[in-house]
């Protein structure tokens, strides 16, 4: 299982208390994904960003629904290896 979150680089310089918002899920549980595929769009500091799959796999669980926020480093989706 691989937990996926927003790339740490996106959080550079952003206040510790600020959270990101899941704008839209581009995949659903059970979907097969390729490495680098965009899984979700998230919003941080007025920026709309992609969270991408680090490796090929299957979407096992979405941890943060669209419209909810998440803190720095918190996983938002779990992938399982194919």
């Amino acid at each position: 299982m691989t937990e996926v979150t927003l790339d740490a680089q996106a959080w550079q310089g952003v206040e510790e208390s600020v959270e990101a918002l899941v704008d839209k899920w581009l995949v659903q549980p059970g979907d097969t994904v390729q490495a680098g595929q965009a899984l979700a769009n998230v919003v941080l500091v007025k920026s709309n960003l992609e969270v991408t799959a680090p490796a090929a796999g299957r979407v096992a669980q979405i941890l943060v629904p669209a419209g909810s926020t998440f803190a720095r480093g918190k996983p938002i989706v779990v992938l399982e290896a194919k």
């Binding site: 680089q9 600020v18 769009n41 709309n48």
Partner: protein, 215 residues
């Protein structure tokens, strides 16, 4: 502008003949209610970037700047791109006689803490994000946002050339009492200069500075 891989910086300027409301991507759910309320009198559109609602119209001049994914402006996270874009606006406005500055992240007003949400967080120009452009009194003049994809990054900015019809926006959003506060927190080039500033003049300034900055 991000439909295909961006291989070199590209930019476009947007002016708006008539008013329209542009919702931020996280305001998507508001759209049906808003459209029902304005009943076609005012177009409502959504944008892919974040932030609050924007009222476009003749008072606003927009700039979209698409950069390749590995462009130097994008090193170090989200904020350096905002900083470069904000400072670029300051430079252009200064050449036109408008004194403004890009507000660093530490100037973020305390009113926008997460525990105490700001009453104007629904409006782009109601809040202040890192490196947005303000006047000496901290009133917002230029709003910034961005969209990052694997094909490139789109930095966008909106400059208030003249005072927007905040009442039109606030009534459409069913927040009529917020218009006065929006007027207090914003300022336009026309108000700072004491005379109108033509969109074409700003456009020429951007062209000159962008050519230098992106070479």
């Amino acid at each position: 502008m991000l439909a295909r891989v961006v291989t070199a910086p590209q930019w476009r300027v947007w002016s708006y003949a008539a008013p329209a409301i542009v919702l931020g991507c996280s305001q998507r759910a508001l759209r049906p209610t808003l459209e029902a309320r304005v009943q076609g009198r005012l177009p409502v559109v959504g944008r892919e970037a974040g932030g609050g609602a924007v009222l476009t119209g003749p008072w606003l001049l927009g700039l979209s700047l698409a950069l390749p994914p590995a462009h130097a402006w994008l090193d170090g996270g989200l904020l350096p791109g905002y900083q470069r874009l904000g400072q670029l606006h300051v430079e252009v406005l200064q050449t036109l006689g408008v004194r403004a500055r890009a507000a660093p992240p530490q100037e973020r007003p305390s009113r926008q803490s997460r525990r105490d949400p700001d009453p104007l967080d629904w409006a782009c120009f109601g809040g202040l994000s890192p490196w947005e452009v303000v006047d000496a009194q901290g009133r917002k003049l230029v709003g910034l946002a961005q969209r990052r994809r694997q094909t490139g990054v789109l930095l966008v900015a909106g400059t208030l050339l003249s005072a927007p019809d905040w009442r039109l926006l606030c009534e459409a959003m069913d927040r009529p009492d917020d218009a006065a506060l929006l007027r207090q927190r914003t300022v336009s080039c026309e108000e700072l200069l004491g005379r109108p500033l033509a969109a074409g003049t700003v456009h020429e300034g951007w062209a000159r500075v962008l050519r230098q900055a992106l070479e």
